[in-house]
């Protein structure tokens, strides 16, 4: 460089920084998601993404589509308020796109299925039907007997 001024290097630095700054602003504008909500500070399209998550459970009404009779029958029984899927598994494990993909069998038919709710535990409301294994009415119960041997799963009243 012939006869540089004492400022030459600073001019160049300034130009370099300026160019980098402009480039940064351009990249930032391009990289900001188009649906960005600048007041509440989130990506607006995220709500659409969240809403598109597939449902796994259908709720009791969805069982009616194929099991009208069964649903009507249970609606008159003790366990009518319970979620069908709570014992029979999620709808998405049973049906996909309207076609059955697997049985909706109960997870287990052992005692635990019933005792999970009905075993006597401190913490449960006093008026909730709960039992120990030494319930009077079961004086003659065999070892390892399953509740379902004598009780209807949808209406367990003895």
């Amino acid at each position: 460089m012939i006869n540089p001024s004492p400022w030459s290097h600073l001019y160049r630095l300034g130009i370099l920084l300026g160019a980098a700054f402009v480039a940064f602003l351009v990249i930032k504008a391009l990289a900001t998601p188009p649906s960005w909500n600048h007041e509440a500070w989130y990506r607006g399209d995220a709500l659409i993404d969240m809403a598109s998550q597939p449902l796994a459970h259908g709720a009791n009404e969805s069982c009616r589509d194929c099991h009208e009779d069964a649903v009507k029958k249970v609606k008159k029984l003790k366990h009518k308020k319970l979620s069908c899927e709570g014992c029979h598994g999620a709808l998405a494990d049973h049906v996909q796109d309207g076609d059955k993909i697997a049985d909706a069998k109960v997870i287990t038919e052992s005692r635990r299925q019933c005792l999970n709710c009905h075993a006597e535990l401190i913490g449960k409301p006093k008026d909730f039907p709960q039992f120990t294994m030494a319930v009077n009415k079961h004086k003659t119960i065999e070892e390892g007997a399953v509740c379902l041997k004598c009780h209807d799963a949808h209406d367990p009243t003895p």
Partner: protein, 391 residues
Amino acid sequence: MAPPHEALVNYVFPNDVHVWWSLMIVIYPYITGLIAGAFVVSALYHVLNLKQFKPIANFALVTAFCFGLFAGMPLLFHLGQPQRAFEIYITPHTTSAMSVFGYVYGGYMIVLTIELWLIYRKHFVRKANETTGLERLIWSALCLGVNTYHPDSEKLDHRLARILAGIGIPWACLLHGYVGFIFGSVKAISWWATALQPIIFLSSAIVSGIAVLLVMYTVVKWTSRAPYDYTMLKSLAAILWAAFIVDWALEILELVHVWYQDSHEWEVIRPLLQGPLYVSYVWGQVGIVSVAATLVLGVAVLGKGNGKGMLYLVNVGSVLLLIQVLLMRFNVVVGGQLISKSGRGFVDFHWEFLGREGLLAALVLFSMPFITYYVISRFIPIFDQPAGQAK
């Protein structure tokens, strides 16, 4: 019947079992603290004109730069999605203290790089004219193509470097202080939530920065068989000693305050300090390590020694302080997460050796700034002004 207040079991919320911020988040503030501390030492000469620190002013700046290059690495190692780290520049959420990291760190590195460039530009110009081929190209690029050194530009550069150093002090303080605020503002974690947090972080940062410079200076001079500047060392050790006493006082103050108030924070902090943090906090951070460091440095600074003996004492004290500050970072970051938000239990911290947040990764990462310093020192005369020691 006893008052029914006490918890009888170690109950931890189901989601509380993991310590999410692990070793990487321990060494991250450690590294930014070293940057802030080293920069402050450099500013002792560049801004405050304390002549006795002129010999290490540029050395401190280069050290700050070397640590600065790797300040972001622990964060990248920690993130679940490191490839999205750039989002901190695109959509920073300014209600979050963490959002300022991108701009404060990036801007600070630019300030630091420019200041270093102004200081060592004379050397770059000389090398650009002395070399040929590819090497010449690189040195010319570093000169931004201005390969002649105008005599008036020296004063200009010096003035500009001084301005940048002045801007750099508060900027370095923000670069490290915001980390303290990140912790101090989390009301959900009693061990973190105190207004003193940013101040304690900053004061211990300055301590660690001065300490690392003292040790590095000794090692560099020792390996290059160059003479030690004992007067400067004693002066710097005095500042280190004073800075640590202030830092230690702040740490004790925070402890005494939360103990005395005896509020819901102390209910979980007391068992934390008596239990998981007993060794690292009570004995380590505020206990033996601090006492030993204060004594050793006190003898070095107040004593009459001005030679090798003082040098050894100063180095021992500095190493102790580097340990103390690292313990402090560990105790704050990990300790806070050991308290379950149930208020009734404590979580275990599991050390990892391999893995993203493991000990090995932390050791390798922490050694990188020192290796970088060594590489830079092969190309640039860090301790000498490019053309003599004028002024």
